[in-house]
């Protein structure tokens, strides 16, 4: 604490950021909570409906539950690519004697591209006419019978919109995990190797536990970020065909700005926030429990 500070100086520094943060983040959270108890189309005056929006959401809306299930699958697929791919590359990078910087840069490259550009790109990768990269590749390796319209087949579309999200950010998480792995003391690993431990053992018994705080942080970042995934499914399929790639976020967006049902949309967005908080709490809880055993 600075000895020469005055109450006024604290306010001068603190109020402007708090004001902007309050207006654009804190106030909207309260407004959404408030609105979620009303029925409102934006033009007529709002009517108080109590918990009707939440009742509808929890027991009366099949699309909501499909969107919720889709969101969980979307997060699972993205996570496997992001964290799985990141852990794999972060470890494999140790077998390279040079070129680390180049690999890191290239691996991070997709994170720089806008989601609209990525959506265009993947629309062409999945396309049938003209034959896109994926279908061409399948044809080339003799799996031509697997060719299909990936974005209009209800069985493949959810995976097809999840993969770009995973692809986009795996480089970011790889950088973080690799930096953490660099801090693992080499004496530990070498001693284990001399005792005849396999590479897999060294990874599971030494490296992975050692970087635990970092991968928990990474996991929380990835889960909360994937739960709010919106751009790519919205741009690629807009939730379709039918509701087969609808996420909670795209459903909320359409409810708000296509059906202008602000009250119900607010209750969905409150649900999204709760879902993020529950996810973070679950990660902490599950991983702490393992600590004690």
């Amino acid at each position: 604490m600075l000895p020469s500070r005055s109450r006024l100086s604290v306010l001068v520094f603190l109020l402007p950021p708090l004001l902007i943060y309050g207006i654009a983040v804190l106030l909207p959270i309260l407004q959404s909570l408030f609105l979620s108890f009303f029925s409102w189309d934006g033009t007529t005056s709002p009517t108080f409906v109590g918990t009707a929006n939440y009742v509808r959401l929890l027991v009366g809306d099949d699309i909501f539950w499909q969107a919720f299930t889709n969101t969980l699958i979307y997060v699972a697929i993205s996570l496997v690519i992001q964290i799985g791919g990141a852990l794999l590359v972060a470890n494999l990078l140790f077998t390279l004697t040079r070129g680390h910087a180049v690999v890191k840069t290239l691996y991070l490259l997709p994170a720089v591209i806008s989601t609209v550009a990525i959506a265009f790109l993947f629309q062409r990768i999945y396309s049938v006419q003209p034959e896109g990269l994926l279908n061409q590749l399948l044809h080339g390796v003799g799996l031509g019978q697997l060719q299909q319209p990936w974005l209009s087949n209800v069985r493949t579309v959810l995976a097809a919109v999840s993969i770009p999200e995973g692809w986009r950010f795996t480089g970011l998480y790889m950088l973080i995990l690799h930096a953490a792995l660099l801090a693992v003391p080499t004496e530990l690993e070498e001693a284990a190797r001399l005792d005849g431990a396999s590479r897999w053992r060294v990874f599971t018994a030494i490296r992975f536990p050692y970087i635990r705080p970092v991968w928990i942080t990474t996991l929380i970042m990835a889960v909360t970020y994937d739960l709010r995934g919106f751009d790519i499914p919205y741009l690629l399929t807009n939730g379709g065909p039918g509701q087969s790639s609808e996420l909670l976020t795209t459903y909320m967006y359409k409810t708000a700005f296509t059906s202008t049902d602000y009250g119900y949309a607010s209750s969905i967005s409150v649900f999204i926030v709760v879902e993020c908080l529950v996810a973070v709490a679950l990660i902490f809880l599950l991983l702490r429990r393992r600590d004690q055993s």
């Binding site: 100086s9 943060y21 654009a24 959270i29 973080i176």
Partner: protein
């Protein structure tokens, strides 16, 4: 070769031959990097293909002939110049707020200190996990009440506010490393909180500022959801919206011209990233190891 074996003792080389594992692992790295980079390379290649080559040719082949006609069409049909200027304005404005407000809040919390500083810090940090979607409907309503809808400010405000928690966190953890003696000495010399902020904290923070600006620029430059929700007029559209318009504007989608437009719009950020990638990578790595 002789110089090389002199540098690495022969004994060590023999004891550690390149094992199949190493070969496999390097091949795997190559493959994964190709998956990450090839689509982008393909995008650039497609942007110089002729339309006929694109619809009929093999997508994996090199372009039959190189044409810049797609770029000419991209500029003629779209509003690329305007979109780029708009994106620059929004990116600059939001970054200014993120850095200035982030430093101020972190300074008040970490350096000046006050009774509820722990609680205020927690309120800011909470924002890291708040999804932006929660703000869309309320901000849309508030904006239409005060006439802020369809302005630069309507994009800059939420972009800055939602990036503020990370900025406060990064500046706060950096300010924690500045030795307290530096502040105390300046205080004894009679410097007040404002002089210390501009004389000590600000000059020391340049590296953190660069990191915060670089990482945020990527997200702001590419923002789609706020721009798509709050901006309607063509004159205010940022790059992501401009690109999306492309497809509609052309009726039958002119993919090669669209890809040319995509290339034009990702190039500025890509160049900055490639030139400064050391700073970006170090920024991410250091931010993570502190977490």
């Amino acid at each position: 070769m002789t110089a090389l074996s002199a540098a690495h003792p022969v004994v060590q080389r023999r004891r550690r031959p390149v094992s199949p594992f190493i070969v496999l692992s390097r091949a795997l790295i190559g493959l994964i990097v190709a998956v990450q980079v090839y689509p982008l390379l393909w995008l650039f290649l497609t942007s110089v293909r002729t339309e006929q080559d694109y619809t009929e040719g093999n997508p994996f082949a090199l372009p039959a002939s190189v044409t810049l006609g797609n770029y000419v069409r991209a500029f003629r049909v779209g509003n690329l110049g305007r979109n780029i200027v708009n994106s620059l304005i929004v990116t600059f404005g939001a970054n200014l707020l993120i850095v200035a407000l982030g430093m101020m809040a972190a300074y008040a919390i970490t350096v000046l200190g006050f009774r509820f500083s722990g609680a205020v810090r927690a309120v800011f940090l909470l924002g890291i996990v708040v999804p932006v979607q929660i703000a869309l409907v309320p901000l849309f309503i508030d904006y239409s009440r005060v006439g802020l809808l369809d302005t630069y400010g309507s994009m800059i405000l939420p972009l800055a506010a939602f990036a503020l928690p990370m900025s406060v966190y990064l500046f706060g953890s950096f300010f924690g490393y500045v030795p307290r003696e530096a502040y105390e000495a300046a205080s004894l010399d009679g410097a007040g909180p404002y002089r210390i902020f501009f004389g000590i904290t600000l000059p020391l923070s340049i590296n953190t500022i660069v990191t915060v600006v670089l990482v945020n620029s990527i997200f702001i430059w590419n923002d789609f959801i706020f721009a798509n929700t709050f901006v309607l007029s063509d004159g205010l559209k940022t790059i992501p919206l401009g690109l999306q318009n492309y497809i509609g504007a052309m009726g039958k989608v002119d993919w090669t011209a669209t890809f040319a437009a995509v290339c034009v719009t990702i190039t500025p950020l890509l160049l900055v990233f490639l030139v400064l990638n050391r700073a970006v990578i170090q920024g991410i790595e250091s931010g993570a190891s502190k977490g």
